[in-house]
Symmetry: C2
């Protein structure tokens, strides 16, 4: 779909919400919207798409109460603003949208959390991503380095960039709206998504991308939507396996889970963001003992997070149960950069080649 078609569709769907209210009122019905209940209990595994999505539980918000009427009023103002933004081919941040509501009197947002949630509601109703409304988050800053050529449609024209040849040592920074990207050519065998900047720079310095035909993607901690969308598209449209390399602690396993299975917050767009085929490389709890890695004691929060993962449907496999139980026994966690204790080359010459051939990726 071209940018113009995408804009037209977004405008049509947004205005469609207001049109429905009009029709409800014309038919003597108090205007309302209907949305899936957004709780963990209403998360269901979808066999076809292999991701977690909202189930059938729904809630209705009708203008019959003052509180809900004001909610719909705010939604009406936001729809009006976004429509205008699409017509003028402008864009704005979620934060700017919140400030713009200053002038909306009764429809003014009390806090940015409120406007953010309303935008998520609009995503659910329209079945489009906020990027299609020309809304962007504050920042992200993840980046790519590897044998990949892409074409980005920017406000200053179309740019063609090779993610090794045309970039500096910091790589190619992923823009907010990934749907302006087209992958035109590549020479890669797989994609490795990396939690920390230190490890991303290590793989680049050691030439891991060249030696193994790897596209390096720096996640920068919990990955932004745009980063997850890029991983999904690299997997889907180029057919490349995606592996995730993080620290060895419960918070990092959640980074992997959000790449592979999606998150509760964005379950309404799991199909666009999640990469169900993504595999976890490590740091595995078993690596901590196998490689005698420098480790820290688990904190109380770590232990609780691991226990919560034992009941999380996303970790309901024998592999994860064994690893998590092992970690609870050892009471230890290690960072990915801890491999440096065995020398700066160990991770690229020993650990990753061994793991990736075990996993059948190389």
């Amino acid at each position: 779909m071209s940018r113009e078609e995408m804009d037209a569709r977004a405008k049509e769907r947004l205005v469609g919400i207001a049109r429905e209210w009009y029709e409800q009122m014309r038919d003597g019905v108090v205007p309302y919207i209907r949305l899936p209940t957004r709780t963990k209990r209403n998360l269901e595994y979808d066999d076809d798409s292999e991701v977690w999505k909202y189930g059938d539980r729904e809630s209705t918000r009708s203008a019959a109460t003052e509180k809900s009427a004001i909610h719909l009023l705010k939604m009406a103002y936001v729809i009006g603003f976004l429509k205008q933004q699409l017509v003028e081919n402008r864009s704005s941040t979620l934060r700017e949208l919140y400030y713009i509501s200053e002038g909306w009197k009764k429809a003014k947002f009390a806090a940015q959390d409120e406007s953010n949630l309303l935008i998520e509601d609009l995503e659910i109703i329209t079945e489009m991503q906020r990027e299609a409304f020309h809304l962007r988050p504050e920042e992200d800053g993840a980046s790519i380095f590897g044998p990949l050529r892409l074409r980005e449609t920017t406000r200053r024209g179309v740019k063609e960039i090779h993610c090794q040849e045309d970039v500096g040592e910091a790589g190619y920074p992923i823009p907010n709206n990934v749907d302006n990207l087209e992958f035109t050519d590549h020479d890669a065998k797989f994609v490795i998504a990396i939690e920390t900047g230190g490890m991303y720079a290590r793989l680049m310095e050691n030439g891991f991308d060249q030696d193994y035909g790897a596209i390096l993607v720096h996640l920068k901690g919990q990955p932004a939507r745009s980063t997850r969308r890029v991983l999904r598209r690299l997997n889907e449209s180029l057919g490349l396996p995606v592996v995730v390399f993080t620290d060895g602690d419960p918070w990092s396993y959640r980074i992997y889970a959000s790449v592979a299975y999606g998150s509760i917050k964005s379950a309404h767009i799991s199909e666009l963001l999640a990469t169900p085929q993504a595999q976890f490389v490590g740091v595995q709890p078993s690596d901590i003992s196998d490689y005698n890695l420098p480790a820290d004691r688990l904190t109380e929060q770590d232990i609780n997070a691991l226990k919560a993962e034992l009941t999380d449907p996303r970790f309901a496999t024998e592999y994860w149960r064994n690893q998590i139980r092992l970690q609870l026994d050892m009471r230890l966690k290690s960072e990915q950069q801890a491999f440096a204790s065995r020398g700066l080359d160990f991770v690229t010459k020993e650990y990753l080649p061994t793991r990736l051939s075990e996993m059948g990726v190389i």
Copy 2:
């Protein structure tokens, strides 16, 4: 200086420290090092370079006590590691260095704070930056967008990049070692350093770089060393005025101060990092009332931070005292994106042109 010459000098100065210990021992002196005292009391304004530097207070660390002997032992191990790294043309993160010390028995660091401090000591003694030892921080991720052409020497060859034409919408990401950059050409009148990603994207979208010949630099909050070094070099080598545009709160004024005057933590390299000519654009406390910006109440911490700034030598001007007193009276703070309450164009069509011509920049 070429990369090879820089490497040779770093190696020579590092090994020189060990050589001095050798000579001390040969002469029957217990080996020691001497360093400036690193406290606020020992900060002095240097009239020539217009930046804050360490004064004359010094402390001596001699191997006469066990604790100091172990400190020198650790330094000896670090020098050995860095020398080897320079010989092999490798590099590593501060975090990796900490992990590498795992194998150093008695010289093992207890925490990364300790190894980071030791590296700062080595910077002071050698009068070089850690980048010259091929050490990099975990991440930074600041970026540039504007009419600037540069040449970056990377491990994969020399890349020539124009920061408008050859980059995507996220701009050109600043690498860790800025001394591998050469500015080859530009068509700019000034540089504007911006605190938030939202405002950086706003100026880019509104074409502020084109309309006013501005190089946009995204600070990403408290700027990393590499970002401050880039600003200094843009000011010094291209003769471009630098202005700083932040939120209107005491923490943001410190961002400005660290760009303009340096920080206590890096006072030993203020001359390399600070841009004394940098001017503050806003958000000024007076803007909050002049433009009736959406604002939040100051917190207790905000008030204390403002009061501390009234006695900070870096804010000892009439302009800053008036603004800070005004803010303490109003008890309000505003973010830069609050200008969006007056429309998405207000900041680039009204506020910045007015302020910058007042300041004599445009």
